[in-house]
């Protein structure tokens, strides 16, 4: 089995198979992330396809000092942003829970999923930072590269996001205790 670096080198040489192997381990997670940033499942799938095509097209400009996943997420964020221009998506669409592609992937028994609250409490970029940190285990440096922000911005906004979600979680616990 080839390592990630070997696969990248083969993809840079033009091997579609190597690139397919390389992104196979990321594509489900990328789709899940894109579902948090797109208005519909179809948009998220389109964004994933565009992301992988762009990644392959520009694989020769990939800098190996970055983690490959960070580079992929950065491309994904840009592609999702293109699909979320005001002409394409009405602002209210994402708050409509029936149409929310993320909600559609969460089982009914998981209606207390904290990421649903996060979508309502946090703005897009803070949500993305929180997701990359806690769902994807990215470091602060990798998150700041993926979001094209400074490390200090990332730290501050992770802290704000945590504070908002902590308050939400504690509020829920207090309610459940009160109603026994």
């Amino acid at each position: 089995m080839r390592t990630e670096i070997q696969l990248v080198e083969a993809a840079q040489a033009g091997s579609v198979e190597a690139f397919t192997d390389l992104v196979r381990r990321y594509r489900d997670r990328l789709l899940r992330f894109l579902l948090t940033r797109c208005a519909s499942h179809a948009d998220a799938e389109d964004a994933l396809q565009d992301t992988l095509i762009n990644a392959f097209r520009y694989i020769r400009s990939y800098d190996s000092r970055w983690r490959f996943s960070t580079w992929l997420y950065r491309i994904a964020i840009r592609n999702a942003a293109k699909l979320r221009t005001p002409d394409v998506v009405e602002i209210g669409d994402l708050s409509d829970e029936e149409n929310d592609p993320l909600m559609q992937c969460i089982a009914d028994s998981e209606s207390e999923n904290l990421w649903i609250s996060a979508r309502h409490l946090l703005n897009d970029e803070v949500f993305a930072a929180m997701w990359l940190r806690y769902a994807e285990d990215m470091s602060v440096n990798d998150i700041s590269k993926a979001l094209d922000r400074s490390a200090s911005w990332t730290k501050v906004n992770l802290m704000r996001g945590r504070r908002a979600l902590d308050a939400e979680l504690n509020g829920r616990n207090e309610k459940s205790e009160a109603y026994g």
Binding site: A11, Q12, G14, V16, F19, T20, R27, D28, L31, R32, L35, E45, L48, Q49, L52, I53, F56, R57, Y58, I59, R60, S61, L102, C105, I106, A107, E110, N113, L114, W115, A118, M130, W131, Y134, A135, R162, L165, D166, L169
Partner: protein, 131 residues
């Protein structure tokens, strides 16, 4: 890992998403129609030959020296002092020989006409009141 981080991780794992076979085939087909683009090679600044830096520095120094020399050697010429004759020529000439009557003649005529009109008017008023 703290309580919130664990909860976020667990909730993220509960979001079950997988790329469908159809999407996988679509992506594979799209990838086959694309080929990696050549990396744009920018010439790094450090690749310039050392002679380039020497030549540009020397050019700068020579240009600065030339400007200094020109500024210091080409003093602006002293403005010519006006001669008395020039000063006289510059002052407007007034013909002092002109008679005062020539200058005030028209005004005097106007005054005479007005005084005559007043006299006529005064005489007419006297006749009207029977004096």
């Amino acid at each position: 890992m703290d309580k919130l981080a664990k909860r976020l991780r667990r909730d993220a794992d509960n979001i079950e998403v997988a790329v469908s076979d159809e999407l996988g085939h679509r992506i594979a087909a799209s990838l086959r129609s694309v080929s990696p683009e050549a990396k744009s090679v920018a010439v790094p600044a450090s690749r310039r030959p050392a002679m380039f830096w020497w030549a540009s520095s020397l050019t700068g120094i020579v240009a600065a020296a030339a400007v200094i020399v020109i500024v210091n050697t080409q003093q602006p010429a002293e403005p010519p002092m006006p001669t008395p004759a020039n000063i006289v020529a510059a002052v407007p000439v007034i013909d002092w020989k002109t008679e005062t009557a020539t200058l005030t003649g028209q005004l005097q005529q106007e005054l005479d006409a007005l005084q005559s009109d007043i006299k006529k008017a005064e005489q007419k008023v006297r006749e009207d009141i029977g004096l």
